[in-house]
């Protein structure tokens, strides 16, 4: 168990991680028409899916302490995201007939410049179907998405464990788990929508220029999750010390 002040800091850190992770996960709504690089759904929706899968995985190790919870949350999220990317690429390869290609990199507008995949060195120019902004998830965006999912899952699990240990003295274990789960999901959903405003519904992960506006997400999520964390701290303090109205 951890003390309430550390738990409050953990909620703030978790909220910020959740916000920042959205910048790393490649997602684009027009991806559903194979018209843009990234997983074919809105960034905040996809991050919510991955993060909640992480919280679900983290819940299994709730009795083993802080570190196993956070790491199982992180890898649970990464597993969900990678399976989604693999199957999305399978649909694109065999259902649509297109190779994965990064639109931003192909037009030389990625963070590091050049028209090659940073990790595999594959040329991107020319593999993009005419009139589109790329399609699928090429390897560099996969790596970026994995980093993002690890952060998101860890953030969700941090909030989950923090709320669990703050409320445990006041209510039974079963109820504490249930409340921590829904509050962690709530904090995740609050923080994952803010970066979507910055991204305007489309990002290619850390090789997209939009990564440079991450400080805005950072500040916004820091303030929002600080307020949420203080509220949770105050209320659970009231509940634990027996001041129940």
């Amino acid at each position: 168990m951890i003390d309430p002040v550390t738990a409050t800091i953990m909620i703030i850190a978790g909220g910020v991680l959740v916000g920042v992770c959205v910048h790393f996960i490649p997602a684009s709504a027009t991806g559903a028409m194979a018209a843009a690089t990234g997983i074919a759904t809105g960034p905040s929706m996809l991050s919510a899916g991955a993060g909640l899968a992480g919280i679900y995985a983290a819940a299994y190790s709730i009795d083993s302490g802080l570190a196993p919870v956070i790491i199982s949350g992180a890898v649970g999220s990464a597993l969900m995201l990678l399976i989604t990317i693999l199957c999305g690429n399978i649909v694109l390869a065999f259902g649509i007939g297109t190779p994965p290609v990064s639109g931003q990199t192909a037009s030389g507008k990625s963070t590091f410049g050049g028209t090659k995949d940073i990790i595999t060195g594959f040329e991107q120019e020319g593999y993009r179907s005419p009139g589109t902004d790329g399609h699928g998830m090429p390897f560099q965006t996969v790596v970026s998405g994995t980093i993002g999912a690890l952060m998101g899952g860890a953030g969700g699990a941090l909030v989950f464990y923090a709320v669990y240990s703050m409320t445990l003295p006041a209510i039974s274990t079963e109820n504490a788990v249930a409340l921590a789960g829904i509050v962690a999901a709530g904090v995740f959903l609050i923080n994952s929508v803010l970066p979507a405003y910055v991204l305007v519904g489309k990002t290619e992960g850390m090789f997209d220029m939009k990564i440079r506006s991450m400080h805005r997400t950072f500040i916004s999520c820091l303030v929002t999750s600080s307020i949420v964390a203080c509220v949770i701290y105050a209320i659970s303090w009231l509940a634990v010390s027996g001041v129940v109205a």
Binding site: A27, A29, T30, G31, A32, M33, A34, A35, I39, A40, T41, G42, M45, A48, G49, A50, L52, A53, Y56, A59, Y60, S61, P68, V75, L79, M80, L82, I83, T84, L86, C87, G88, N89, I90, V91, L92, A93, G95, I96, G97, T98, P99, P100, T120, F122, G126, Y127, R128, S129, P130, G131, T132, H135, M137, F139, V142, T146, V177, I182, A185
Partner: protein, 295 residues
Amino acid sequence: MAAISLLLGTALAGFLAFLAGIFEDSESNAGSASNPNSQVQLAPQIGNRHRYFNKAISGEPPANALWATTAATIAYLLTAHFGGDAFSVLIASIIGAAASTLLLCAYGALSHISRIASMKNFEQTLYWDSLLTPLPLDAAYGFLTALILTLLAFAAHGLLGNPFSVPLIALFFGITIGAIGSSTGDIYYGAERLYQHYIFGSGIPISVQGDIDVKGEYGYRNSVDTPYFTMRFGGLVTGLAFGMLIFLDAWSRLFTFAGVWTGVIVVSVLVLIILIFIYLLEVYTRKRYGRYAED
């Protein structure tokens, strides 16, 4: 005993999740939900007046979470009356899923009529039969999705030992399956089925978006044909994704070689293996399809 229930739970959860994925994708395609609904919405504006059913809930994750959570909540409350054995869980889940299907029908019909009412300038007619023919099909897939996600939540809670309550697991599964369904299976609907008259092997340029296929093999196309087409590939891949996620996640907890870290180690190895598969697939497609002639 615990080991047998874990083993049984893993097999059952993987199987159920695979089915849930197929039905979820078919449900969203029958109703043109999620991202491709923007194309069905856009079609009348460029003169393609259609007979598709447009359920128009653009957030597939919250919608699926609602069907699953409603069914799971009713089942969770009913099992308190009936008792907790397998048969009563099944009956309670069926009643819960039936109730959430009614909600799905109501939301689906309201949005189809509303969207067409907002299309007055583009002369889109509301054809009652193009709403009433696909609605039962859509509701049937929705019923199966809600039922299976509820059973899956019971399996995860009871057999696999997840500490969350059944409705909360159903909420998580609903949001996750919606995210997976809208990012795998929907590509096949949005980029292939709606645009079958464009040649295979290309994304859909932004300039032609909205120019969807409105004619079928004969006559006008309706949404009943859609799952018939998409279930043969897009639905199966969605099922593969969700089934693999639930199965591998449960499977990683069957081992005990490294104490509390076992699951983490197994999942990390799986993550690396999937990364290799993604790399190999990229290499294969680049070699197989090559460059586009003109860019």
